[in-house]
Symmetry: C5
Subunit: 89 residues, 5 copies
């Protein structure tokens, strides 16, 4: 599961029916690339989260009918992105 | 879900049955890489949209039988691609 | 859906049962990277095509039992890969 | 299936219901990029493992209801990442 | 479907139940990046093969219950990786 940072919310008036009343977040990786994810957890801007993709995203959204391919599955308690290149053991 | 910009429509006379009467759009990312997406929303060239991929794309197309792996799920109200590398909080 | 160019056919004597009598094509992207796709449409070398991936590829192959993850879904009538970096509207 | 190295465990107090009591590991590739995986095998930091992604990850987690897209499927007995660019036969 | 070269077999004593008695191969792309694939075909080191990914990999493994996301689907009769950048038609 990808590890991304929450940047903010998304305003989207025109969308397909299947999205229902989902909350959307803009999330991004270390390089700044942004994606849209559904958020059943209530993440805040700046939080580091891990996300379920593919068909798991629909289950994780709490309703298989929600049309998403990326859902925030959990907020990581502590995360230091600068440890990214540090060696294990 | 990916965030891409609509470039235009696609003309495709020879296609598999499963595509039915889907409307196709050419969409592209910031680097200019182009893909084809089905569009049940009615997006216009220049719009920034977010898209459901994988099996969610078939649900999002409004008919699970439509053979697509990428569907426009919503039009983003305001989007500034130049904010791409800006820091959160 | 990816946009790729057909390069030619593939000869493959030893394969799993689930492939049945599928026609395989070698397809490649602008960088020259090649993949194998099933072709229910009858594409010719040089054609630019768009392709369904994932579980949609099995539906697009005309038989869900065909074991593929990439199927040619349509031949694009006109395609100019050099427009790749041109700006929209 | 990807080959990654286990770095450590993940603490995540706030998460979706579907995660149940899964054990999470931080895993990373040779470039240092990190992801989160569920671990039904009991891998240790430093182990090289291979992982099932997509819908297979949910089966591999031992319970299809667990919401993950990446699961450790096995621990590789011996693995030398430095052989990475060596030629076969 | 990806085109990869078989490098050798994989020894893995500790693995999840769902793998059953699958034969695993190490496969790699032109850049040397390695992955693990199940092999129902009997490929040899040095063979160039094409592989089904995602849920198709489980079907291709000959048993949907086998937990894999990558399965060798066929051995390519002749393959010249040096043609990689040659132009079509």
């Amino acid at each position: 599961m990808q590890i991304l940072q929450v940047e903010g919310s998304l305003t989207c008036t025109s969308r397909v029916e299947g999205m229902k009343h989902s909350v959307f977040r803009i999330v991004r990786d270390l390089s700044g690339k942004r994606q849209v994810a559904t958020d059943p957890v209530g993440a805040e801007p700046g939080n580091w989260v891990f996300l379920a993709s593919g068909s798991a995203a629909r289950f994780a959204a709490g309703d298989f009918e929600i049309l998403t391919d990326l859902t925030i599955a959990g907020i990581i308690d502590e995360w230091d992105p600068d440890e990214m290149t540090e060696a294990a053991s």
